[in-house]
């Protein structure tokens, strides 16, 4: 099942995908069907009682590490993001005036499904609730070599679109054998600019869950953004960026001033 959170008719609703439409699942609108363009799409994540932990990987695809002239890391290069940087599908991300290099990063996002502590790789998928698509924008003009990638690059308001769907883990495992067998791509104004495959991750999803849960307990709703492959390019105001992952979704975002 593909789950969404949307705003419509003056309120926020839970919905699922049904024959190319949104089907609302909660009272008072149970059974109501809506077209995709009738609603405002929010991040497909239920609220959590404490701050949501959002872990994001840098240099987790061999080709992207090479592209950025780094040797592949020996352990996951991870940074943390605040939830306030998240926005939904079909939203507007701000490109500051005067910057020269702002690029998208198409990433498979893992949504934790149950409390994970000291999890072993072999059991890691038991702790995954679902998957979604994240676009982890970066503005390279602001890169500094202090706790790099620094927050001015990676924790900006509006700079982490996520969605449209939270896809149940079971669907991806049944249809593709798991999250390590999915193609990714990005288009800018319809032109293909980034193309990769999750099998090329340096640290795969089970390895990441084992690594993090060894020292930090993850809670339902926490996120792991698993990094991006080769093929990032600068984007300008007005560009429409579509980050897509096979079986998970096509996340549309537009850059605004």
């Amino acid at each position: 099942m593909k789950h969404a959170r949307i705003a419509w008719a003056g309120a926020v609703h839970e919905a699922v995908e049904s024959n190319g439409e949104l089907l609302l699942t909660r009272s008072p609108w149970v059974g109501k069907r809506l077209k995709f363009d009738e609603v405002v799409w929010l991040p497909p994540l239920a609220p959590v009682p404490q701050a949501r932990t959002i872990l994001a990987l840098g240099l987790n695809y061999a080709d992207h590490a090479k592209e950025l002239a780094f040797k592949a890391p020996e352990e996951p290069l991870v940074f943390v993001k605040g939830e306030a940087s998240l926005i939904g599908h079909k939203a507007l991300t701000r490109r500051p005036q005067g910057v020269t290099y702002m690029h998208y990063e198409c990433e498979l996002a893992v949504v934790i499904g149950r409390t994970a502590k000291h999890v072993k790789k072999e059991n890691a998928f038991d702790y995954v609730g679902g998957y979604t698509v994240a676009n982890d924008y970066a503005i390279r003009d602001y890169l500094e070599n202090w706790y790099r990638p620094n927050f001015r690059v990676k924790n900006r308001d509006t700079c982490t679109p996520i969605g449209p769907w939270l896809v149940d883990a079971k669907d991806i495992h049944d249809a593709y054998g798991g999250p390590m067998n999915l193609s990714l791509q990005t288009t800018v104004n319809g032109k293909l600019t980034q193309s990769g495959h999750t099998r090329d991750m340096i640290f795969d999803v089970p390895t990441l869950i084992e690594y993090f849960s060894a020292f930090m307990t993850l809670q339902p709703g926490d996120l792991i953004l698993t990094g991006t492959p080769d093929g990032v390019v600068n984007c300008e105001v007005g560009d429409v960026i579509v980050t897509s992952i096979e079986g998970v979704g096509d996340l549309i975002n537009t850059l605004g001033e």
Binding site: Y142, E144, F151, M216, L218
Partner: protein, 215 residues
Amino acid sequence: MQNKSSSYWPQGTVYGTLLNFKREWDLRAPQMPEAPHKGAPKAPVLFIKTANTFTASGHKIAIPSNVPEVDVGANLAWVFGPDARVVACVLVNDVSIPHESYYRPPVKFKCVDGFLGVGALAKPVAEVQSDALVLTVKVNGQEVQRVNYADAVRASQKLHADISEFMTFQEGDMLLMGSDCLPDGKRPRAKVGDVVEISAPGFETLVNHFVGATA
């Protein structure tokens, strides 16, 4: 990770600030132009203390079995209300596994379960002089450090303004104003069995007991 309903408890994202004291900045300044940094930081250097780190005052903080000692990071923290306005102040202990390099994000050093001691009292911001507050750190009853926010690189308003240039604090978010180092560049250390207290005039003392990790 324990909560007491009568006490302050973080509701949002907890942001921390690195290198916000002149002593540590000056000690590191000679190396700043060198690789891998290739320059002094321009924007505030930030990190996040994830929710798994929150520990109420009076409760235990476990030190991982492969770590002999941890850093004690005494901080004044701002708490934000609606419209990114600061509403309250809290004392916190930003516990870290000691790490020399500030090149890569410190997740495995700072986001360990339990590694943020949180004071029980949120004091209205109007009652706190954020840029003149002095924190006292005691380990097993012995004073080991005084942290004076008059020695900050960025005073509180300046720090807030420089961060707000690129991100908006949400209601419930916290901002740690930074922890000072000792004259040798290190921070006070705690080991298994130690009791660490962080106090400041008008605040309830933040107390945490450091214990060994259970398997």
